[in-house]
Each structure stands twice: as C-alpha cells, then as structure tokens.
Symmetry: C2
Subunit: 400 residues, 2 copies
C-alpha cells in the first residue's frame, strides 16, 4: 500500500523549506506546512520533564483541536532557554501568522538541534517571506530536508486508501536520528491527511498508531526534550465524517500506523552510525507489558547493540538483558531465533553450526530476532539498530 | 588509610593463581583463596533473573554462613549452561576440596567470561594440584591476575585499621570491566579480613558497603549473570567479637566501604575503552531514592557518556537525561557545575566562557559533575565513565 512513486502531496496542504541560517552547516533549516483553513489537529509530545519552548507552546495551542500552520526549524532545539526561548518561539510563529493573515494561535512550532541554544527569532522572521512565497502543494521535498539534523537523508512515507468510496491520502514526514527512545512521540514527525476526521478521533488514532511504532523503537535510549508528532486532517477527500468505532476509522488508523511504521524504520535505519535495523520480537510473556519490557531492555542494551554491530549471535547478552528487565521468566524455557535460525533451545546453545548460520543472517541490513519466553502468552516487538564506533564519533563531536 | 605500599596479605588466608588453559588468550585464568579453617563468610550476588551455575551453587552454599575456599576462573562464565554447567561447577569445587582435604560444601565457585560456554571441568581438575601447591599468604598478585577478563590490570585495595586495640586488615580484589551496572554486587569481588566478626554482621556490613560503592557505579548499563562479591573473615586479628550496633562494627563497615570504593573507582577507570572517571552528584532531591534515580539516569545515558568522551560540557544532555528519569523537578531551578565551574544557573546556560573552562575540567581523567535540583533536599552520587569508540570495538569483537 506504500506509495512513493506518485507525487507526494495531500489535498488542502502546501509546504515549503528554506535556509534561514540557523544551522551552522550548509542546508535548509526552516520548514512550513500550511492548511488552506484551520483544520482538526492532534499531537503527542515528549514525556521528558524538561520540555523545549516550542513543545510547551505547541502543546498549549493544540488543545483547541485546531491548527493551520506548522513552523519547524532544525539546528536549534530552543530547549532550556527559559522565558526568552518561549518569547522567541512566540515571535517566530507570530511572524508566520502575520505573513499568512491568520491568528498566531493557529501556528504550532517545533524545533530540533542542540539543547540550550536560543532560537534566533530574527533569522526566522527574516526568512518568513521566502518561506511563505515558496509554499507549494508539491513542497514535501524541501520541507522534509529542512527539518533534518544528523540524518543521512529525508524521511517521507505516503499511503493511499479508500474510505467511503473516496480516495484518501496519508503523508508522513519525520526526522531522526539520535536521542531517540520510546514512550513518547519520538523525534519530530508530521502527518497530513485529506481524510475528514474530527480532532478527538484523530487524536485517538494518532496515539494508537504511535504506540505501535514510534513508541516501540530506540536508537540510543535517550529521550529528547523536543519530541513532537503532529497530525492534521484537511477533510478535502470529502468522505462522510468517520464514526469513532467504525470500520473506516480503523482503516484510517491502520494507514496512520503504516505511515508511522515506515517512518520509524527509516529513523532506526538512519540511527546515528547504524548499519543494521533489528526487530526484537518477544513472545510467551505473561502480559503484553511484560513482553514489551523484555523487548525494550534487550533492544536498548549496549552489549546487545555492539554484538549486533559485530554480527555476533551472542545470545548470552540477549538472555542476560532479558534477565535484568525485571520481568519474571524461566531461563530454561527460552528459545532464541535469529531470522529462521534457532540458536537457543530451552536456555541452552544449539551449537556452533547454528551460530555460524545466524552470523550470516546478521550480515543483513534488516532482520528479526525472536525471543520466546514460553509456549504461549503475550508478545511485543521493538525496533533497534546496532551501536557503532561511528555513533560515538558523531555524538562526541556533535557540538565541536 | 589506603595502604598499597606494604605487603598485601591477610592473616589466615593463602592465595594462588595459575593458567589452566580456560582462556583462549595467554595468561592466568584460575585463582584460589583458602582460609586456614572454615570462617564466617557473606556474599551478595547478581539480581539478574538469569544466574550462572557458579552463582546458583555459591548462593546455596554460603547460606550456612561459613566457607573455607573460593575457586575463581576467568575466560568462561559457565552461564546458561544448564545442568551440565552446575555439574561442572560442582566437579571443580570437589576437586579442590579433595586436594585440600575439606568438605566440598566449603568451596564457593565464581566464574567470569563469555556466557553460554560450559566450564571445562577437566582443565580445572588438571590444574588443581599446581593451584594448591602455589597457595601462599603473599599470593594476592597471581590471584588478582587470574580473575581478569578485558581488564587492563589487576584491581587490589587494602586498608589497615585498629579495632579494640588490635591491628585489622581488610583486603579487596576485584575484576571489571564490562557488563557493569548497578543494583547488585557488580562483577567479581573478594574481600578478606582478619577481623573477628560473625557471618550475620559481616553480611550486613557487606551489603551496606556494597550499596554505597559497587551498586552506585556503571560502565555500560548491563547487568551480568555472574556478579559475585564474597567477604570472608578469619578472626586472626584477635579482636573481641564485634557488637552489631557498636562503634567498632561501624568502623569495620567503613573500612569495607573504603576498600570497595577504591575497587569501584578502579573498575570504572578500567571501564572498557574509558578515559575519564566521572562522579555525578545530584542534590536537592525530594528523597535519596529520587536523587539516586536522577544520578543513575544521567550516568547511564549514552549521549551524556559520549559527551564526556568528547570533553563537551553538553549540559543539555545532562538536563534531558534528568528529565526522563521519572523524577519530578523544576528544570528552571537546576544548577549544574563541572568541577568548580558553574555552567547552568536556574536552568539556563551561564555562557561560553564557563563552558570553555568546563571543557578544561573535562580534559582531566577524574572529576565530578554536580547537578543541583533545588536548594535543599537529599543527595546521591553515581560513578560512570565515558563511552568511546574503543568500547564498541572491544564489545563488537569480543567473541570473534
């Protein structure tokens, strides 16, 4: 159902991206999404106790359930910047609102970059005319590039489906690639759809889709101060309003999950220094929460992640990580499979030949490790990447 | 009070270390400590749900409160090896018991190395004659080398104090250097004293000293299946038996804490690939548990640890880690100090000059970062090291 060959656009939205000079490095650093009118909007934000100014402002504004514009910058997180930071976020949004002739409360800000640096509102304001002039229904590409930091490339996914006989599009744009960890709307992500859907249902569908995707992946176990995921629905597809519990709502939720899932894989695949995207699937747990806890503990273990980097089927580290997860299980009932290769049966090594074959699977860029805690029970999946020397280099040098 | 210049020995104990050929690499890999008679013994073990065979056996045997010998090997963890692993641990201890003419139940095993490999009991048994012949009161050095894995060097600390007019010695030997994380007796550690102290009090003192030292440090956030910390007391100092709540008991506890603290610093300083030992001190928390939780979250953050490696006073990462710790605090009341240099005042950057001076502090091999959450309240300390590309190299290549 994913569709990236056809034009990337969603009826009712225009996008743009320009260089405002916020980033030290070359490249676009300021993006804008504008709906033709105020539209139903939902968002999830970081659960970090330390929230960036744009998160505080966007969270306050989205409570109305309506927004018309998203102003996003890279190169500066505008986090831990106090009242000045909030004022800079407000001023930037106000400049966009003036240029568009709309109320400032309809503009949601999002920022990503180094923490502790104040957003240069003057640079943003100076760039607003070009940003507004550049708005275009086909402007996904410049927008998607303007929001990147250490990413190797833009992250865009689009899904088309039919709801009530109408063609509906769901488009997602996101950025990675470090300080990425579960239990919030990780990193920055923006989902646009032309489906007609009210803000309460959109919020519920967004939360459900986030839980299964952005909240079940990790790059480095750190949680950003700026994580923001916003969904806007223009209603331009002209479908009949969706019943909250109906089949069409579930289908739209499925499309959201597909888009966020695709973006999530791109984020992990572009994890700083990563060469492998690995899904840990844990089954046979007492509860889904237990399964998730075990999967998360394995997926965030530095020793597991370095073993993934070395293509080493070091199942002892996987088992040891599961063992410290706080979840009760019997080690002597655990099976571990790398791809299709069983390497641990009932807590014991299968043998060297199996590990040699597992090593081959681990040479691939994308594979699944299945940890079966018992014969039956709940399961969960968690997405992670390998930990490389390159990750250290990127993060030791990030500000220098 | 630390004393490493004088001879390392404790009345009532003999030690040795030999090469049994368990390690693939060169070097000693089997160590033995023997008391002149069964003596009061206490131990703490890993809290990992997955426990190695030697942990299961030693935990069972130490419940009696008495032991006479510790048999320790490196090069093989004998973890996740099922019934065969338990049998190998038992057979190895039995061989030592036979050679010493004591009951096998008085021999406690400990192992460290790769998980999932069965202890080669035959190699251990073949080495027992040389191991027993080599026993010597001055044998701390070969023992301390025989228990190492990826460590850069042996870890030994000795403290002398007077209790009831008698000279008392507390000697500790430990190994590092990866899969090291809080909330258990991390890694392998052995404490010998000639103090006269009963097993129940020794156990209480050991737990208290462990909590403040081995349980408040991290290298990589992973918890071993094999962590074992054993304390034995020969009573040869001849002091009057210690009252459980008395001043002398507290002084012995202090000596234990000093020895374990020194070993802990050596372990973190020898953390795989580490170049900096950093203490995170968190103050102004509502409870000591809150302070510890914040300190631990900061100390285990990959982004903080890579910034330590880059000597980058990236306080945003410190604040962001604190913010995801689950502890409630007001970001705008936080002060952060690197050494003596204040870099964050009330949640805001002090400035570039301060960060330049903090960078200088961070060029040192050992410094403290103080995170003040508020004016008054509980505090806690946590020891960590930087995360380097070398760590990744060591752990990606460990088994290959």
């Amino acid at each position: 159902m994913s569709d990236t060959s056809s034009a990337l656009s969603v009826a009712g939205f225009r996008l743009s991206g320009v260089r405002a000079g916020i980033k030290k490095r070359e490249g676009l650093d300021l993006g804008l999404i504008v709906a033709d009118a105020p539209v139903p909007t939902a968002a999830v934000f970081t659960r970090n106790r330390v929230k960036a100014a744009p998160v505080l402002l966007a969270a306050e504004r989205v409570r109305s359930g309506k927004a018309q514009a998203l102003l996003v910058n890279s190169g500066c997180a505008n986090a831990c910047t106090g009242k000045e930071g909030l004022a800079a976020a407000r001023a930037s949004c106000a400049a966009v609102a003036r240029a568009l002739g709309i109320r400032a409360e309809l503009v949601l800000p999002a920022s990503t970059g180094v923490i502790g640096q104040l957003l240069p509102a003057g640079k943003v304001e100076a760039a607003v005319p070009a940003l507004v002039t550049g708005l275009d229904a086909g402007g996904v590409d410049p927008f998607s590039r303007a929001i990147l930091t250490t990413d190797r490339g833009p992250k865009v996914a689009q899904v088309r489906l039919r709801i009530g006989g109408r063609a509906v599009t769901v488009l997602g744009v996101a950025k990675g690639a470090g300080m990425i960890h579960p239990d919030m709307a990780t990193t920055l992500g923006f989902v646009l759809t032309d489906a007609r859907v009210g803000a309460p249902l959109l919020r519920r569908l967004l939360r459900g889709a986030t839980d299964a995707t952005f909240n079940a992946l990790t790059v480095d176990g750190d949680t950003s101060t700026n994580d923001t995921l916003v969904a806007m629905a223009s209603g331009r597809a002209g479908n009949a309003a969706l019943a909250p519990a109906g089949r069409d709502a579930a289908r739209l939720g499925g499309a959201l999950e597909e888009v966020l899932g695709a973006l999530g894989r791109m984020i992990v695949g572009d994890g700083e220094g990563a060469g492998h995207v690995v899904t840990f699937e844990v089954s046979g747990a007492r509860t889904a929460a237990d399964a998730r806890q075990v999967a998360r503990t394995i997926a965030t273990s530095s020793l597991v992640k370095t073993a993934l980097h070395g293509k080493d089927p070091n199942w002892g580290r996987i088992l040891a990580a599961a063992g410290r997860s706080g979840v009760d299980f019997s080690p002597d009932r655990v099976d571990i499979r790398v791809g299709d290769v069983l390497i641990v049966r009932r807590g014991l090594a299968v043998g060297e030949e199996a590990e040699r074959r597992a090593h081959e699977v681990m040479s691939g860029s994308d594979y699944t490790v299945h940890v079966k805690l018992g014969a039956r029970g709940a399961s969960a999946r968690y997405l992670t990447c390998d930990l490389s020397a390159e990750y250290v280099r990127i993060n030791a040098d990030y500000r220098s």
